[in-house]
């Protein structure tokens, strides 16, 4: 890593560590990071020039051009040469019609770790310093391109008590081993995994008549959505099932929102609210203080009026080695202190012969 990159990492890490970090500090770092990425990341620099934005005329973090997350699948967005890549996270998307998986390369993990652990602690473990972690996901050693597996493995490494583990092995849920681990827990346990994995677990538990009363203080962290892999279950129904099967109160069931293109994550505010004595906000995603989010118009990419729905654009200082400003395909709206996630941006209109699908199978009615 070159000296400038190392120095930026150090300063961002110090910013992450500050609990009193303010707007001025964020602004200064964001603009400095923009100048660094404009120069060091060729496709991003070209992208910015095309919109007439350069470090010379961008004066506010809100003016930094946000690059669509999908570009991580179309160009190498990195401020360092490929030989310095130590880890590369890839999206779980499929490859159709020329669209490729997103790939986010890191030349060091220390900043990424600082980001994920600090906000994980604030939102998932505001009341504890450690607990048993049971992950319905493969460990990072078995999924070396999965940012989710990295996050859970790192959380387990830093916060995990003995007795937990990873219960997706060779792509399959090891239901019996997970049940045995949960049954052995005598203290609070964090059960974490994708919605897809939880649906499988619930189906198996229902079929076998298995129910848990996890120890007081246990919590569920659902991540990653369904990724088109399983029957989708409405969020309310899934959370009711989680409470029923694991014996965990609804307020202790939270959802994480993140993506491989970003170093930071967002969580439901409910658990942090609960332990802070506030009314738990179950539908509000909160991000860390080193990230700012905007809700923008899908056509113009300009901010929408407060409370209106639009695409989420994130400005994440922990993305030092790639692009800090990322425009997602997720639709949300600003709510007090965070945003509410409303779903995915409607894709391109039906194309090719596939438009006939609705005429036969009728997902939307013919």
């Amino acid at each position: 890593m070159d000296a400038q990159s190392r120095q930026l990492d150090d300063r961002i890490r110090r910013f992450i560590a500050r609990s009193d970090a303010g707007e001025i500090g964020f602004e200064r770092l964001a603009l400095e990071l923009f100048a660094y990425q404009f120069e060091g990341n060729e496709p991003y620099g070209r992208y910015c020039r095309r919109f007439g934005r350069t470090p010379a005329n961008v004066k506010h973090w809100r003016e930094i051009p946000a690059i669509p997350a999908a570009v991580f699948g179309e160009a190498r967005l990195a401020c360092f040469p490929p030989e310095r890549t130590v880890v590369a996270f890839e999206s779980s998307g499929t490859t159709t019609g020329g669209a490729r998986r997103s790939r986010h390369e890191l030349e060091a993990t220390s900043l990424y770790d600082a980001s994920l652990l600090t906000h994980f602690r604030a939102c998932v473990m505001p009341d504890a310093t450690s607990m048993t972690i049971c992950a319905l996901a493969p460990p990072f050693s078995q999924a070396p391109n999965s940012s989710l597996s990295y996050m859970l493995s790192k959380a387990d490494e830093v916060f995990g008590e003995p007795g937990g583990g990873f219960f997706i092995r060779d792509g399959r849920l090891d239901f019996e081993a997970a049940c045995a681990a949960l049954a052995r827990c005598r203290g609070p346990v964090g059960v974490m995994g994708t919605a897809f994995a939880f649906v499988h677990f619930i189906d198996r538990a229902d079929a076998a008549g298995v129910r848990f009363e996890l120890p007081l203080g246990s919590r569920i962290v659902e991540t990653g959505g369904f990724k088109g892999k399983s029957r989708a279950v409405p969020r309310g129904e899934l959370y009711a099932s989680l409470s029923r099967v694991f014996g965990v109160a609804r307020v202790f069931c939270i959802s994480e929102y993140g993506m491989c293109e970003l170093g930071s994550q967002w969580y439901d505010a409910s658990l942090a609210d609960y332990f802070a004595g506030r009314r738990p906000r179950t539908e509000t995603k909160i991000g860390p203080h080193w990230v700012r989010s905007l809700v923008v118009d899908p056509v113009t990419a300009e901010p929408v009026a407060a409370g209106d729905a639009g695409l989420l654009a994130h400005y994440d200082l922990s993305n030092r080695g790639s692009v800090a400003a990322v425009l997602t395909g997720d639709v949300g709206r600003e709510v007090g202190g965070g945003f509410e996630l409303l779903g995915r941006q409607r894709g391109a209109p039906p194309k090719g012969c596939s438009i006939a699908a609705d005429a036969v199978l009728g997902a939307e009615g013919g």
Binding site: C353, A356, A359, V360, G365
Partner: protein, 388 residues
Amino acid sequence: MASCAPDSASLESVRRCRCIAAGAAQWRDPKSWVRREARERLRDGIWSAPVVEAALDAVLWDLDLARATELVKACALQGKCALVVLPGNILGPAVASAYCAAVAGARVVLKSARDERHLAEIVAQQFNDLGAPLAGAVQARYWPGGDAEIEAEAFAGNSRVIVFGGDATIESVRARIEPPGRVVGFGDAYSIGVIGPNADMRQAARGAAIDVCMFDQRGCLSPQTIYVAGPHERAILFGQALARALADVDRKLPRARPAAGEREALADLIRRLSASVLASPSHGLATLTVDRRHRIIPSYVVAVEPLGPPRCTGFGRVVSVRPFAAIAAVVDAVTVFGRKLDTLGVGGAVAPNETRAFGAQRVCALGEMQRPPFGYRPSPADFVDRSA
């Protein structure tokens, strides 16, 4: 003494061929009643009037009496009854399917898509008007997709089921039909263009623009990506020529009304292309051209990108142009399609052994991609009951 009089089967074949040729001629004649009817009924559809006219000009362009006779003879009237699930993204398969069935001697049910139900009705009416043996051979139907009861009845009542749709749709239909071999599927497929080293750039761009503007890149025969032989600068020059040609053709073949979500999808795509296009050369020729003449939505987008796999946008008259040094590199890049490469549109001279290497279903000149010969898709053979 043996009789020289033709037998009744021969007479029926002759009558059938004459009816087919007469009917096809009506579809080619802009003044015919079928064309007038189609013009009137499609007036409020998604396609502009000139695109409708061009599509109908092309649908049976080569089906004359000689061709009909040749095809009827080959099929030996072995068709029984067929169901065709029509696509909604392009115009033409309703008419082409009806005539393929007629050639095969089959009766056919044309199941229209939600957004275009008129052509099936018009061709059914035309067959009745043409009289025996075509009268009554086409039935136009529509039902909201997903009605399991209607679909089960429709699948059961026909010896052949021909489906235009995504691969998942076709698989779903196959899973519901015994034996699955009764199903003919026209699933996901893509087309590309290749510009040879000595091509006339203006002519190639003009041909490509016509292929793009017919159906706005929504069809399987639309050239999603065009590979240009030579250095980056030649691809950039072709991109410029293509943008000019698209602007010109757009005046003659205006784009369709934007579909729901198309503005947003196009805006997203343009942002993505802004990061992936080649750097503009020092002389300032744009590598991303977005038509801004209309306020609502760009009429076309041309992006000159580095050599890589084809970009298949499938809407919005978006064309990716990519340079190549050796055709083998393009063949390699296109392998992502597997067997889904439909048509290869060629500009200039490209050696046959080089075009064969792509494994495309069809090779033609740019400008002809949206004008396949009769029987290309579907084919009369698709209507022949092989179990008979």
